[in-house]
Each structure stands twice: as structure tokens, then as C-alpha cells.
Symmetry: C2
Subunit: 286 residues, 2 copies
Amino acid sequence: MNPQLVRTISEIRNRLVLPRLRDRTIGLVPTMGELHAGHGALIERARGGCQTVVVSIFVNPIQFDRQDDYEAYAIDMAKDVEFCAALGADIVFAPSAREMYPQPPSTFVEVAGISEHLCGKFRPGHFRGVATVVAKLFNIVAPNKAYFGEKDAQQLAVIERMVADLNMPVEIVSIPTVREPDGLALSSRNRRLTSEERAIAPVLHQALQLAADYIRGGYRSAEQVRSAALAHFEEHPEFQVEYLEVVDASNMIPIAVIDGPVRIAAAARLGAVRLIDNVLVDNLTV
Amino acid sequence: MNPQLVRTISEIRNRLVLPRLRDRTIGLVPTMGELHAGHGALIERARGGCQTVVVSIFVNPIQFDRQDDYEAYAIDMAKDVEFCAALGADIVFAPSAREMYPQPPSTFVEVAGISEHLCGKFRPGHFRGVATVVAKLFNIVAPNKAYFGEKDAQQLAVIERMVADLNMPVEIVSIPTVREPDGLALSSRNRRLTSEERAIAPVLHQALQLAADYIRGGYRSAEQVRSAALAHFEEHPEFQVEYLEVVDASNMIPIAVIDGPVRIAAAARLGAVRLIDNVLVDNLTV
């Protein structure tokens, strides 16, 4: 059965009155469309854990620091709805920008600390835009659970902190990154790579794996680990590395000495495309 | 019957599960304690409009720009609970600061524009703290309606804007200012006035009424109206006026030319006490 495609806030609220009165568990998978197997893993997990599954598709203008990046999101709604149908989603909520922002917004949710590092440094206002739209979606859908991918680990940390600080009544479920066989993390942006770029794109993940190997091998200086990983890019000048950092896995803030669970997180531009990835090292054997 | 006094977030949520399942209307009256007849008007209105009435009592540390002002709030909980009981409230929610902020908060709700004028200019971070704690209370209590006084008209405008921008599923109900027979707006701060200060305190409201009379009399220049109202303080050097502004009634932003509904809003220090007040002029006959 095809999921119901809902375009307005009043309609999605009406559509959820009955499931809520019947005490059904409502799961939300927030996306920006161009759905791929990474989103699929989120929807499948929601399908397994909730009685009513809502997938939102909304390219949120206020989280983009670059207009060209915003405009590059070209959603094929029929295709995305079909994708959701195949995975058993009940509702696709795809509001227009005017429906979500009927007037220029004055209210923003800011998550200090976590938002200021890594992507936050290179995309001013990005996490403010993300936190704000996720707060809106939570208020509109009022889900019991919401599903986010670990590929956007800093986004996940921002949202977890927002939910805790503001006592939002929703459980955040995180899902491991889905990868291509060669290690490249799935992303809507991958399709914008040229075939030459696509061929070398896995270098990003390789560099992170190399850093993880150094840590598992006993290195405890974040700077040494970084240097080793950055050296891996020297043979691939096509990459412009924005950052590569060893961060505390719990809050995504860069650290100097590795003495607990960490993520190695990086962003790099490959041609016109900005790629991000991260790997977790949570089992320090030394 | 005495209202139930609830101290923790988990308990208030549990206490509201059944009313919500039974589709009862839940009303929230957020306060900082030291309850007076102004709060009473909010509770009575909630009692009339809702099946379950929650009064929250929480002196929110993050909305104070001055530590001495924060510390001057001395709640007599037994007295406040009795006050709520007499008006038929069902639950008094009075969490500790540690319950509301178990860790230093990283997440803040900012309402740009409205927050930057009037009190926002003199109390940096104040409305950010207000918006943040109200968002928390809304997420904790999940009321259908929430009640705020027009005496804090800028606060009301900030909250209305936050609710609209973030799609919070709550109806904001505003209640006219309750005044002493001599015109002084009720406030917890009034009891900190000396008897000499109390005697001249109504001058603040008189100045605002004077401004309103000028507008009703045909004056359309905000600057002329301001000057007339400020002149009223010349005989009362005990007042230090922080601001006195003619603002758009819909968004509380100062205007120059009066051509629609306005409020005249002012803040003044009288000895150690900061007083605020405002009057609405919404019926321009010229």
C-alpha cells in the first residue's frame, strides 16, 4: 500500500489524531529527500519499532550556508514516495517551504558548544537551522521516536543535546552509517560526483580507517593520529580537506588526548561536492 | 481539595498521562511564585477553560541578568499552594533548579527582533532565558492552553512568536493586567517597595495613561507622545526611567508614527525595585 502523501501541517496533525488516541507509537524519519539505502536503514528501523511511521521530506532552506548547495537538492517526489512505500512507511510528510516558513522566521534553536566545531565552523548557521527545523518537525508530528544516521554524527549530537536540554518528549534512535562496498558513506551528494571523483571518493573513509587503526594500535595523541590520516590525502590532491578531527564520541568536541570512546570526523571537498564521514573507535584495548 | 504538589518532571508527566488519554484539556499557568491576584486572574481563566489546570512555580535562573534580582525571589511554597488551592488548580508543578537544569544548558531558544527592544535592551539574555524555560515547560507539561499576563506584554509577544515560528501545539491565552485601585500594576516586586516608594509608584501608570490620552486626543508622533509622558516624571526624580516607548501592539517593536493599535510600554527603577507597565491603545478614533 502506498503511503499517504501529506503536504500541510494541519493535515498531518489530523492524520495522527487517531493513532495517538489509540496510543500507537509514532516514529519520524526526517529527510531532505533523494532517498537512498542509508535512509532505508532508518525507515526499516522505524518500521520495526513503531506502529505509525512518518517520513518527512523537506529541504530546509535555513540550514544552508550556500544558495547553490540548497538549489542542488532536486527531489523526485514520486520516486521518493515509491521508495518509502517499498519499506512500509505510512505517511510521507512533504511540506512546501512556505508551509514551514509562512513568514521569515524570528525564532531559532541554538545548541552552543557542540555546534561550534567541525562542520559548524565551515557552515555558519547550519546547526542552528537544523536544530530549528527538527524542533518544528517534532512539534508538528509529536513522534515518540525519531531516527537519525550516524553519518551525520555532529547533527546527531546537536539533536540529542537539544532534546535533553529542552525536555523534548521524544526518543532519539541512531543508526550506523550505510556504505558502498568500497567504503564510501551513502549520501545524496554522491550522485553529483563525476565518475573520476567517484572512483577516488573512498579515500576519505580510508583516511578515517587509518586514523582508527593508529588509535587501536596504541596512539593516544590526537595530533599524531590526525597527521597520519591527513598524510593519506597527499596522494590525492583532488581533495580539499576542511577538517579532520579526533572528537569525544559523546559530544563531538575535539580532544587532544585519546582516553575514551572517540570519533574521527572529517569533511572534504571533492570537486564541487562536499563529503563528510566519521568512524567510531569505542573499544580502546590499551 | 488541595492541588497535588509535584516536584519532578517524571512525576508531572505520569500525572498527566490519564487526563491526556481521556482527552481532557490541560491548561498551564507558568509563574515564578509569590502569587498575587494577577496570577489569580490567570488561574481563574484556566479553570474556566480547561479540565486539568497546572500552575508551575519556578524561579528560572537563566532569565535573570542580575544575581541580586534572582535571589530576591523568596517563595513561600505553602502559601502559594494554598493560593492555587483556593482557585481550584489541580496540580502545582514546582521543580528545583537542578531538576530543570541537571547540567549547564547548551540549548537556547532565541526570538530575534521582538527580544531586542525595551526590556531586552536593559536585561541582556532575559528573553532568551524566558523563551527557553517556557519551551521546556511546554515540552514537559504539553498543555493545550497556556496563560500569560499582558502586564509582561513583551514577554507575551516573544512567546506568541516562538509558538508560531516553532509550530508549538499550544494556544496562548493573554489576560489583561490586574491593578491596585490606584492604578499600580500587580507585581511580586511591589512588596519590595518602601511605603514612600509605594505611595508614588502609580506615577508610572499615570504617565502611560497620559500618553494614551495624547494618542486618543489625536497625537500621531511617537516622539511627542513620549516627551509628554516623560515630562510627567519630572516631578518625581525618585524614578529612573529605563525606557518609555510607543510600540506596535502586534509585535512590541517601537514605531515613529502612530497609525494603528499601539502599546505604550515603560520600565523604571524606583529605589531598588524595577517596575514595568504598559497600556494598550487600540481604538484610534481619528
